[in-house]
Symmetry: C2
Subunit: 196 residues, 2 copies
Amino acid sequence: MARPRSFDERAVLRTARDQFWATGYAGTKIDDIAAATGLGKGSLYGAFGDKHALFLRVYDDYCTEAEEATRRRLEGPDETAYQRLREHVIAIAEDTAADTDRRGCLIAKSTAECAQHDEAIAARSQRAFRELHDQLTGCIAAAQRAGDIADGHDPARLASLLLAVNRGIEALGKGGSSPAELHAIAETALAVLPKP
Amino acid sequence: MARPRSFDERAVLRTARDQFWATGYAGTKIDDIAAATGLGKGSLYGAFGDKHALFLRVYDDYCTEAEEATRRRLEGPDETAYQRLREHVIAIAEDTAADTDRRGCLIAKSTAECAQHDEAIAARSQRAFRELHDQLTGCIAAAQRAGDIADGHDPARLASLLLAVNRGIEALGKGGSSPAELHAIAETALAVLPKP
DNA sequence: GCGGTTCTGGACGAGATAGTCAAGAATGGG
DNA sequence: CCCATTCTTGACTATCTCGTCCAGAACCGC
């Protein structure tokens, strides 16, 4: 019926994501994305709309992936909930430490750059944070049921604290903190959680 | 001898800072700053050099002010060290919550945007974080001497944790978390600090 | 294959943007 | 009061950047 797309949409979105990730929203030129993907600008605009729509698409995909990855890490039986929680927090420190390019987390970067004046980005960020918070809350509640974290502490509050620690690890990693320091933060945060 | 400056350098730097704060480094145009300050571009370039040099100047001043403000809040006698620590952490949550424009902290914003590819910004951010960390360490050690925080915990590690929490509160505030939630994070972080 | 339809590539236009420059203004030591 | 010196203004250049547009290419139902 008509000429089909000659590119893989997901691959193009990944490449665009890497560009935005590397240089931020304002710092990324559509021509950069066109060059990196090999697509002409006509194709880009035809497929994804303008720069803002493309960024929103990239950002939404990234948030969704981050949410799903966290859910996979945190969901499971009560018996191993604390272990999963522990591994999750440590994994964040290690991922941040291993990120030699210092790209950090795209959510952190985009929120810092755009949330202030871009309602759509702000809303998506808020949803992502809420989602991460809810997953942490569930995992903490499970660990409480299993007797690995003291009862009598609101799991949602502990989740907020851990979420803040996670975002803080992210921020400090971007600021150049050493892997050892990031790891120590994760360990300290886990150590101060109330034990039964 | 020669024509004197007709503008107040500090006022111009404050205005430039507000511009960079509002729209980020890449998103700020020199013409915006010229318009906001009322200066011609020639004066700006003559007084501060190019855009990057101006930003660096603004950023360095901001970091220095933040470091000094924190030092003023945290320094003092051992007896009231815990109280100062407590007020500091809560003040961060309240400042973040009260920031209705969602500008957040310029250090967080600039680090997220620039540290990745701008060595000078990265270095200044790292210095600022180290400074804040050292101040927290000193205050925690004082609180330990006064018997308000359990001995036997490395104050530097607790400081890292609190710094991460502070940066996390910042990040979540930018993401749209409610004042109540930010406040709860601060309270929870203080509550889990090891008591003697 | 034919023709309608969608995709591709890149030239193009309009406007933005960093930084320069020159002509004139303000100052104060001599 | 004059002149060397520094500051100011904003026009100007050269480049960049977004988004459009169109001529041609590729496809597939008929």
